[in-house]
């Protein structure tokens, strides 16, 4: 999954504390979350106290401190999605997968995330499967989506 080294991410940004959020964004984009070791290295390289790095990482919703599942289902809970019953989708996904938001299923396949708005409000409720958007989702559609993904991943695994 990770393709960039910390060296590459930090290049041209060393000793610039104002680059903290940008650097953390890039690390997460590459690794899917913020590993502890990386945060220590960022603290040293940017000249920001480690506690401040953790403070920023835990303040902003964008950052994850734990790895995700291979498939991240992001459920949009924006106002437009909410009035079209997005809360039922969240309840349903948590029930079907037996996890809480931010947790990973035992097989490492799924994690569920909630987001305040994905900005595709007209097509709500929206559920994002990694980078793919699914529009006008209902509890029934979500259930089939989860089953389809599970099936697809099992097939892929048995192929390997």
């Amino acid at each position: 999954m990770s393709t960039l080294t910390l060296e590459q991410i930090l290049e041209g940004r060393r000793s610039q504390p104002n680059q903290l959020i940008e650097v953390l964004q890039d690390i997460q984009e590459d690794r899917g979350y913020l590993p502890n070791d990386d945060m220590r290295a960022v603290s040293q390289n940017l000249g920001v106290p480690l506690i401040e790095v953790f403070r920023v990482a835990s303040f902003y919703k964008a950052f994850r401190l734990k790895p995700t599942g291979r498939i991240v289902l992001t459920i949009c809970l924006g106002t437009a999605c909410h009035v079209r019953s997005a809360h039922l989708l969240l309840d349903h996904a948590l029930e079907q997968l037996g996890v809480k938001p931010g947790e990973v299923t035992a097989d490492g396949l799924f994690s569920i995330e909630c987001v305040n708005c994905l900005g595709a409000c007209a097509m709500g409720p929206i559920v994002k499967e990694n980078g793919i958007y699914h529009d006008h989702v209902t509890p029934g559609k979500l259930r089939r989506l989860i089953e389809t993904i599970r099936h697809r991943e099992m097939e892929a695994k048995s192929h390997v």
């Binding site: 504390p17 104002n18 680059q19 903290l20 959020i21 940008e22 964004q25 920001v48 401040e52 403070r55 920023v56 303040f59 902003y60 919703k61 964008a62 950052f63 809970l77 924006g78 106002t79 437009a80 999605c81 909410h82 009035v83 079209r84 019953s85 809360h87 039922l88 309840d91 349903h92 029930e95 079907q96 987001v115 305040n116 708005c117 994905l118 900005g119 595709a120 409000c121 007209a122 097509m123 709500g124 929206i126 958007y133 529009d135 209902t138 509890p139 029934g140 559609k141 259930r143």
Partner: protein, 617 residues
Amino acid sequence: MSRLNSFRELEHLREGLRERLEKYTTTVMLCGGPGCHAARSQAVIDAIRKELSAQRLTSEVRLLVTGCHGFCEEGPLMVIEPGNLFYHRISPDDAFEIVSQTLVKGKVIERLLYTDPISCKKIQTEAEIPFYRLQDRELLSQNRRVDSCSIEDYIAAGGYTALAKVLQSIAPLEAIKEIKASGLRGRGGGGFPTGRKWGECQEAPSDEKYVICNADEGDPGAYMDRGVLEGNPHLVLEGMMIGAWAVGARKGYVYVRHEYPIAVKHTRIAVEQAREFGLLGNNILGSSFSFDVDIARGGGAFVCGESTALMASVEGKVGEPRPKDVHTVVDGLYHKPTTLNNVETWANIPGIILNGSSWFASKGTQGSKGTKILALTGRIKNTGLVEVVMGTPIRTVVFDIGGGAVNGKQIKAVQIGGPSGGCLPVDKFDLPIDFDILSEAGSMVGSGGMVVMDEESCMIDVTKYFLTFLQDESCGKCLPCRVGVDRMLEIITDITEGRGKPEQLDLLEELADTVSQTALCGLGKTAPNPVLTTLRYFRPEYEAHINEKKCPAGVCKALITYWIDPDKCTGCKVCLQVCTYGAITGRKKQVHVIDTQLCQKCGICRSECKFDAIRVI
């Protein structure tokens, strides 16, 4: 491309680009905006591109992948010029037919035309569609003229003319005077006069100043800034350049949400292109003006919509607001004078410079000038991005442009302005989209999110939604917001779960009043608005929850029961099979029954029933 070193070179380039475009006989504009993207328009774009090259049409037909066209509900959308032919809900399978029939033979494909819901007639052109006809798409229409990732398209369409005009002939103070005279007010929420902001920043003594574009768009249910920045990033950059020239800034930032990866990408491309063309950097177009822009990605914190919090975030810090004893126009980013405007505000600047302040001021009302982009969403037929002249009644937007409710339901309210705004009932729909008048009614124009609700939306549940959002997003720095929102949410939760008491309503009002008077920042001060407006306009719904323990809209789980309408149930067994709790029983072709003891009210049966037989009481 080499750098443009003078105004003449820019004009020369423009002429060359226009000549190049004239070679095309047909332009196919495919929407790649947020709504169409969610409806998987990329597959359509790929299919059309493939067909065009397979049928050897690439030198005559120009495929333009643009930003949002607006009518998101009907996406993916396509407009073919000349002729203004409008196709909707296109799938990749339609590509062959569109290219071989419409583009080659000029035949219209009936099946892809939009049907007018009232007259039931097929409509050929975009301009005739009621959704578009009642709008004044000053900004959004520009999306359609350019490939979002092409500075050449932007220049060919007249881009950077306004920048050239100020650099050549308008002094900074004159530019500020012009913006003041236009009456432009901030589109991000506050509605503060833009020209005054610029003027104060210009006057602030400092050798270093900044301009910032707020593209954080934290309001859930709003995406107009995404639509503009993604679709036409150079328009926003040009506005920022003019602002920077006026206030005397050499550096600017676009603060954009990380949840909008396409907006981030398009802005990055635009900045790189502008640098390459010498429109950012030193001595822009050979003038004495030097300016550069960087991109800062937001971390997904609603509080960063507040100016001081946003600036802290640009500095790489935690986004907490600070008291604004001295305004950010004097003491802003890195304690330097800073002009912060949102995407739509910046996008309005080039038009005002080109057409003059009186042109802009001729549209709108006494206190609210120009047009406003609204994100029309929720329980309404025509969802999408809508741009209307300020002063347009809410009714026109919801019923005439929006097409009214879905499935013959009754529209009950519209929530305007996001979590800081308020819910207005149908009898207030004659109010105009106007900063001052909506504020008086307890709501606000805000950034322009309009979420429509019908009889199946519970106003108490919506209030609970906003309070949950605000509790989660409260940065925690000041007590009134941190604790006040918490206590209000507690009371509302009691009401939605059947534990509400009549006297709690007075307490709720008192709390709301205290928070709005004592919170530190604007977001805290407006946090009680959803509570106050629903209490003001929808009190009977609160009373039904408290006194009768009923949710009239059928949303609050603790107060509702699912049942199957025997007149509609066909006994198809679909609900029975999807129910994971074994709560539904029945034989094939016989009416099914829900065991209310086992039912968890998850709603899956209702979403799967094709006969609308499952009801909530």
